[in-house]
């Protein structure tokens, strides 16, 4: 069976997000060069590549977080369900409600666990206490954190362990029910056990939303993603189904990188 799967052409993709000619500049310096990339719905897309290759910058342009950094210019197009997110009449704040983000270092607010998760809902105007409680529980269950924190929802989120804090940040992002979740090296500060839990969680979440994850860990990319994109020097070198990328890369640079010859 396996050789047959290998020889078949890649499955057609149901596109959730698409970039066309996406370039990002920091002042005069170009960090991302005309990237055309498609993100499949209910898939995990892993972005890999050596440090400084532009993968994080690319990720942050998918929910317009680059807009919050001075001197960043984005050219090209990004669509979510065919709707441009860089159009002249698009509010980046609204885009971020549809495309959530989890950061490299867990960054819970210095508030209670409950208030952390409820933050985005309250920002979106939800006032009803019963509804808030329901949504907070749902998000914490989704993030596989509920059982650990249900008895201390009103204690500070900063009192949790590193892995729990990162899952709290995921719960916080899930609470507003985004369609796409961007993750920027979410496990880089976690120990192996917490990392394993996080990877299980990512695989479960895929059923309900689309995930783009930046990682430096090849095994992680292989374990959690269905498609992998390799970035080098700000350019997209190669993208394809993860299994194929890690067994039969088309580009020499991809093979060199995943086999540990550089990076």
């Amino acid at each position: 069976m396996t050789p047959q799967v290998r020889s078949t052409p890649e499955l057609p993709l149901v596109v959730k997000m698409r970039t066309r000619g996406l370039s990002v500049f920091y002042g005069e310096k170009q960090a991302v060069h005309e990237v055309d990339l498609e993100v499949g719905v209910n898939q995990v897309l892993a972005l890999i590549g050596p440090s400084g290759c532009g993968k994080s910058t690319f990720l942050r342009s998918l929910n317009r977080m680059n807009d919050t950094v001075d001197g960043v210019r984005v050219l090209g197009e990004v669509d979510l369900d065919g709707r441009p997110i860089y159009g002249p009449d698009v509010d980046p704040v609204v885009v971020r409600r549809h495309v959530g983000m989890v950061f490299q270092r867990s960054n819970p607010f210095p508030k209670s666990i409950f208030d952390n998760v409820a933050y985005g809902l309250r920002i979106a105007g939800m006032r009803d206490k019963a509804e808030l409680a329901l949504r907070v529980e749902k998000a914490l269950r989704h993030a596989a954190l509920w059982d650990e924190v249900k008895d201390r929802l009103f204690e500070s989120g900063l009192g949790l362990s590193g892995g729990q804090q990162q899952r709290l940040c995921i719960a916080r992002a899930l609470a507003v029910e985004p369609e796409v979740l961007l993750m920027d090296e979410p496990a880089s500060a976690l120990d192996p056990i917490a990392t394993a839990r996080l990877e299980d969680l990512i695989s479960e979440l895929r059923a309900e939303l689309t995930i783009v994850i930046v990682t430096h860990n090849m095994q992680q990319a292989a374990r959690v993603s269905q498609r992998t994109a390799f970035f080098y020097m700000g350019k997209l070198v190669e993208v394809g189904e993860t299994q194929r990328m890690f067994t039969r890369p088309k580009e020499q640079a991809t093979e060199d990188y995943i086999s540990g010859r550089f990076g």
Partner: protein, 311 residues
């Protein structure tokens, strides 16, 4: 000497300079403490005997040689309060703009920062003259001409103008302290809030300002306590030598503890009889600013504690 050195190769060569430095710097510390102690002791010993309920609640009488300092306490409190509500919101708003909204290479922000640094270096007597020239003579006159058909109402030294003059003096301190507090808020928290669909304004109000509140309050109180003891800026803009009544309107003149000390020390008809009152007034002023500083220190240590994870 050279014989001794060659016979003991491991001799300490810097010993003598080391000792001079230690003795010198310790001496400087002691001298500093000594001077503070002398100032405090002199005022406490000279003033504590004078302080009584009557001293704190009665008006001066008999050409300032008897009675209390109640009007000066009230005037100082009113002045400080008005100065605070003028300076703190303006200062915090300025710092929020500089730190949260202005682009990093913004010319406006640079000009404002340079102006604030220069404002902080202006001698306080110059603020007094500025207050007289701008607030009293220009703004006050303009108000009188437009609203009171030229009748002298606001174009004279008053509580309002003195408070505004003082607020200009304390503004730089509030701005700098607030900016420092805002800078201490990690960028990750702002990013997290923005990524959840919050606007910049919501992020500032719900995340950044609450997180920086302790630092802002501490800075504000230190600025206020500094302003509360200033005399030069209010000399021409509203402080009075003696008033039979307490101020009841913004455009009334007022008595003030710092100014009262100055008056008692330089304008007294009977130096010997006013001396205890002078000491008492100085002590009350000192305790007032000391109290404000203690509140600031407590606030600061509290917010430090809050930043630690709860557990």
């Amino acid at each position: 000497m050279s014989d001794a050195t060659s016979s003991t190769p491991f001799v300490r060569r810097d010993g003598i300079f080391d000792r001079i430095l230690v003795v010198g710097s310790a001496g400087a510390c002691v001298a500093l403490l000594g001077m503070l102690a002398m100032v405090l002791l002199d005022i406490v010993i000279g003033g504590s005997g004078r302080i009584s309920l009557e001293f704190l609640t009665a008006a001066p009488s008999n050409g300032m040689t008897e009675g209390g300092i109640f009007p000066a306490i009230v005037g100082t409190a009113l002045l400080t309060f008005l100065m605070t509500i003028a300076a703190v919101p303006a200062g915090v708003a300025t710092a929020v703009y500089l730190n949260e909204y202005a682009p990093t290479n913004s010319t406006l922000a640079r000009v404002v920062r340079v102006s604030i640094a220069n404002l902080a270096g202006v001698p306080s007597i110059v603020f007094g003259l500025f207050g007289l020239g701008f607030f009293v003579s220009t703004l006050g006159r303009a108000i009188d001409v437009t609203l009171f058909s030229g009748e002298l109402t606001f174009a004279r030294p008053s509580l309002l103008w003195a408070a505004l003059t003082l607020s200009v003096l304390t503004l730089p301190v509030v701005v700098v302290a607030t900016e420092e507090a805002l800078r201490a808020v990690p960028r990750e928290l702002r990013d997290a809030s923005l990524a959840l669909g919050a606007t910049r304004f919501e992020t500032v109000v719900r995340i950044v300002l609450p997180e920086a509140l302790g630092g802002i309050l501490t800075g504000a109180i230190l600025a206020v306590s500094r302003g509360a003891g200033e005399v030069a800026p209010i000399m021409f803009t509203g402080a009075a030598y003696f008033l039979p009544q307490l101020p009841s309107h913004l455009n009334d003149a007022f008595m003030n503890l710092g100014y009262h000390v100055y008056v008692l020390a330089t304008q007294s008809p009977d130096v010997e009889k006013t001396k205890p009152i002078l000491y008492g007034t100085a002590l009350v002023l000192l305790m007032l600013t000391f109290l404000l500083n203690v509140v600031a220190v407590i606030l600061r240590s509290r917010t430090r504690g809050k930043l630690k994870p709860a557990l």
